[in-house]
């Protein structure tokens, strides 16, 4: 929308704007830079305090009656601000204003400043965030106040398994569970209402009406941690099924029937209004099992604990993950508390090795933000009857030196440019790793892969020796 406003008042042609955007990788910044060429009617520069902008000025966009009014409003703001101020305003307007600080660092800083435990702060920061004085006061107050009923707990996450360290452990003190590739979620029942939160701290209650209905009978003051999966018979459906359930405003009956969900419960965090995260895992699991006995198995099951006597056992278990439709194992210390974030030594994840194919780089596109004007978005292809068919896009897996080297190579070996995309000479081969493979009608190759990323740059491999689409279909068949 900002882009349209800009194009209306500027004599910069649209194609040139697009070329600039491809170079800058941020539309808010592109507009701020280009506005220097579009002399706007000088406005009186008013030094408004920040809170006035946030509380009074910017919210006007919600009350305008027409597009023309909106345009005039935005243009009048641009005219009254300096370049860098225009950039910040545009970031706020596009909803992309963020400062790259990790939540963990923020929690640490607040904890150091206000002398509050990190876990308390992390908990208070969960859920909806309001940029108000009141919210901040509540965040840093010393005595705990009643939290909103919808407030989730911070998730505890497993770290990648440190094999050497783990081999010194006594296996009897540990249990394994299948690691599912669904949506990690907390189901909260408080104040007669069911709330569902994803790990990304999105409230996703509306998207899963059958879970809301199913857990309505849970008594107040309970919080479950688990995984939402599309489920059929005794195994999860392909992740594409779950994708269909996400990001929709209304969930149709058809969608519900074709992609039914199931909740696999991992843990119990709150029991009869008591925060029980400090209790050992086994105790929490017993309470969980007891709590869920009265619920139908089609709705929810408790994640089955798998025991193992040795590390070799564990490795064998892991090899069976794909057969189960799981992506590996999570190994938990039986006496572990439910902590905050990723604390090593209590919970480990032990994923199966990704599937992989050697594919050929055929297209490249510049990234955005920090990777603006650097070719970092790649499309890879496989051979089929002497032709290359694109099969996956990948953005990650190369280190900075490799990215720079490949960027230079792409610039020198461009065949054609289609807007921001370049086709390149089919020479470079990369080993592409992925977590799953499925049939797809939307893809030219007929397959789609999950979490594709670059495992290695195969400089040693001639392009003729890259894999074929046939090999990909063999992987697909083997994974069913």
């Amino acid at each position: 929308m900002l882009r349209d406003v800009f194009l209306q008042i500027s004599d910069i042609p649209e194609w040139l704007f697009e070329d600039c955007y491809a170079h800058v990788g941020d539309s808010a910044e592109t507009i701020a830079l280009l506005l220097r060429h579009s002399p706007l009617e000088a406005q009186e520069k008013r030094d408004r305090p920040l809170h006035e902008w946030m509380e009074k000025v910017i919210p006007q966009v919600k009350t305008v009656q027409s597009e023309a009014e909106l345009r005039d409003l935005v243009v009048s703001w641009w005219a009254s601000l300096e370049d860098t101020e225009v950039f910040v305003l545009n970031k706020v307007l596009t909803g992309a204003f963020r400062v790259g600080v990790s939540e963990k660092l923020l929690v640490k800083a607040l904890s150091a400043e206000y002398n509050l435990p990190e876990s308390v702060l992390a908990h208070r920061l969960m859920g909806d965030f309001e940029p108000t004085v009141n919210f901040y006061r509540q965040l840093i107050q010393t005595d705990s106040e009643e939290l909103a009923p919808s407030q989730p707990y911070p998730f505890f996450l497993a770290s990648p398994l440190d094999e050497d360290r783990f081999q010194e452990e006594n296996p009897t003190q540990w249990q394994a569970e299948w690691k599912w590739d669904g949506i990690r979620a907390q189901i909260i029942k408080r104040a007669d209402e069911v709330f569902i939160w994803s790990r990304g701290e999105d409230l996703i209650t509306q998207q899963f009406p059958e879970l809301v209905e199913g857990f309505q009978s849970l008594s107040n003051g309970h919080v479950l941690d688990g995984e939402i999966l599309c489920w059929e018979g005794n195994r999860p459906m392909n992740f594409n099924a779950l994708q269909k359930r996400l990001g929709r405003k209304s969930v149709t009956k058809k969608l519900l029937a074709e992609n039914p969900v199931h909740f696999i419960a991992y843990d119990l965090l709150e029991h009869h209004h008591q925060d029980i995260r400090e209790k050992p895992l086994l105790e929490r699991r017993n309470l969980l099992a007891e709590l869920l006995t009265s619920f139908p198995a089609s709705l929810t099951t408790v994640s089955a604990p798998l025991s193992f006597a040795s590390f070799t056992d564990l490795q064998e278990l892991r090899e069976r993950s794909r057969q189960q439709g799981a992506e590996g194992l999570v190994i938990k210390a039986k006496d572990s508390p439910y902590l905050v974030g990723r604390k090593r030594g209590y919970w480990w994840k032990y994923k199966v090795n990704p599937m992989s194919l050697d594919a050929v780089l055929i297209y490249a596109q510049a990234g955005t933000g920090k990777r603006a004007n650097l070719f970092t978005d790649y499309t890879f292809a496989l051979w089929q009857n002497g032709e290359l068919v694109s099969f996956a896009k990948a953005y990650s897996g190369l280190d900075n030196d490799e990215i720079n080297e490949l960027d230079k190579w792409i610039r020198r070996h461009t065949i054609e440019k289609f807007g921001p995309v370049r086709s390149v000479e089919p020479i470079q081969v990369f080993e592409i790793g992925f977590e799953g493979i499925a049939e797809s009608k939307r893809h030219k190759s007929g397959i789609s892969v999950r979490f594709p990323r670059i495992l290695r740059w195969r400089k040693d491999k001639p392009v003729e020796e890259a894999d074929t689409l046939q090999t990909a279909f063999e992987l697909l068949t083997a994974s069913l």
Partner: protein, 330 residues
């Protein structure tokens, strides 16, 4: 037949029997300026401006066969008249004007329109065909004056006198321009990396006024550089050379610093937008001022700029594929 064509060896003028800034070994090479993507070794004979001679010999070797010319001096080469005219890019940089019959071509080399106390200003040369660079050929690139940017650099340096201030910039051209501009604000000596030092001495020999400099190799390893400004090439960033500076504040001066993503990617604390290439307005205005009806565009954004010139001004503009790199986006 065009007066100047692109051959494997570089831009070639058959009527004159010479190449301009060739990238392979040729007999006769006319050199616009001494940056490494324009001045390469291997030619039997070079022609360049007198002022650039010191740097060319430093870079290509003392033994090269080099004919120096004055700005504006006319040479008869084959069937052509050739002259060198100031390009305002770096010390000794030139555009090359080639006249044959009633046709005039100008090869811009690299150029800028902003004032620079360390080199002669750009001169507009009317021509029929103009071969222009387009390193920063996007309208997002608009420069402030060098003086305004160097004032920001000075303020940044002064803002923290408790630690060293490391400013990274290209060692030929940019470093000297900064040293020249800073004379307006300071008289404190500036420390320079060895690569900057060598070129700065050549600038001094031809009488360019700059702040006094001390090469870091002359200082004891334990020297603290508290409150000092130090200039170094970007290749020294995060090198072992840099380890001698304790908790320095770092910055990079380059045209690419106009874009936030480019600043963040490189990991410098500050970016100063300072370039020895023309910005968008500089390119477009220069092309219009030459009166050229045909424009060939090289370097960087050649396709964007040529399309814009065609559509907006009805010029006959085309991208020209060369091996010039402009200000490398490193």
């Amino acid at each position: 037949m065009s007066l100047i064509t692109v051959r494997q060896e570089g831009l070639y003028c058959e009527q004159g029997g010479f190449y301009i800034d060739p990238w392979r070994s040729v007999d006769c090479a006319l050199i616009t300026h001494a940056h490494s993507d324009h001045a390469r070794s291997g030619a039997n004979q070079y022609v360049a401006t007198h002022v650039s001679e010191g740097i060319l010999r430093k870079r290509l070797g003392d033994e090269i066969k080099l004919q120096g010319v004055e700005y504006g001096e006319k040479l008869k080469l084959g069937n052509t008249w050739v002259s060198f005219h100031s390009a305002g890019h770096v010390l000794g940089s030139a555009q090359i004007r080639v006249e044959c019959g009633d046709e005039v071509w100008v090869v811009s080399g690299d150029y800028k329109r902003g004032a620079d106390p360390t080199c002669a200003p750009f001169e507009v040369i009317p021509c029929d065909v103009f071969i222009t660079e387009a390193t920063f050929g996007l309208p997002i690139y608009e420069w402030e004056t060098g003086e305004a940017t160097c004032r920001q650099i000075y303020e940044w340096w002064q803002s923290d006198l408790e630690r060293p201030s490391l400013l990274f910039c290209y060692s030929f051209g940019k470093a000297q321009r900064i040293l020249g501009e800073l004379c307006k604000f300071s008289d404190r000596p500036v420390y320079v990396h060895g690569a900057v030092h060598v070129l700065t001495e050549i600038y001094r020999q031809v009488g360019v006024k700059m702040l006094e400099t001390i090469c870091t190799t002359e200082m004891p390893r334990s020297h603290k550089y508290i409150g000092d400004l130090v200039l170094a090439p970007p290749s020294a960033h995060r090198s072992t050379w840099m380890k001698r500076f304790v908790q320095p504040q770092t910055a990079f001066a380059s045209g690419w610093m106009a874009v936030r993503g480019a600043r963040r990617r490189r990991g410098y604390e500050r970016g100063f937008v300072l370039s020895d290439h023309a910005d968008w307005s500089g390119l477009v205005n220069t092309i219009l001022q030459t009166g050229a009806k045909t424009v060939y565009v090289t370097h960087g954004q050649s396709e964007v700029l040529s399309r814009y010139l065609c559509e907006t001004y009805g010029l006959d503009a085309l991208p020209l594929k060369t091996l010039f790199e402009g200000e490398g986006d490193i």
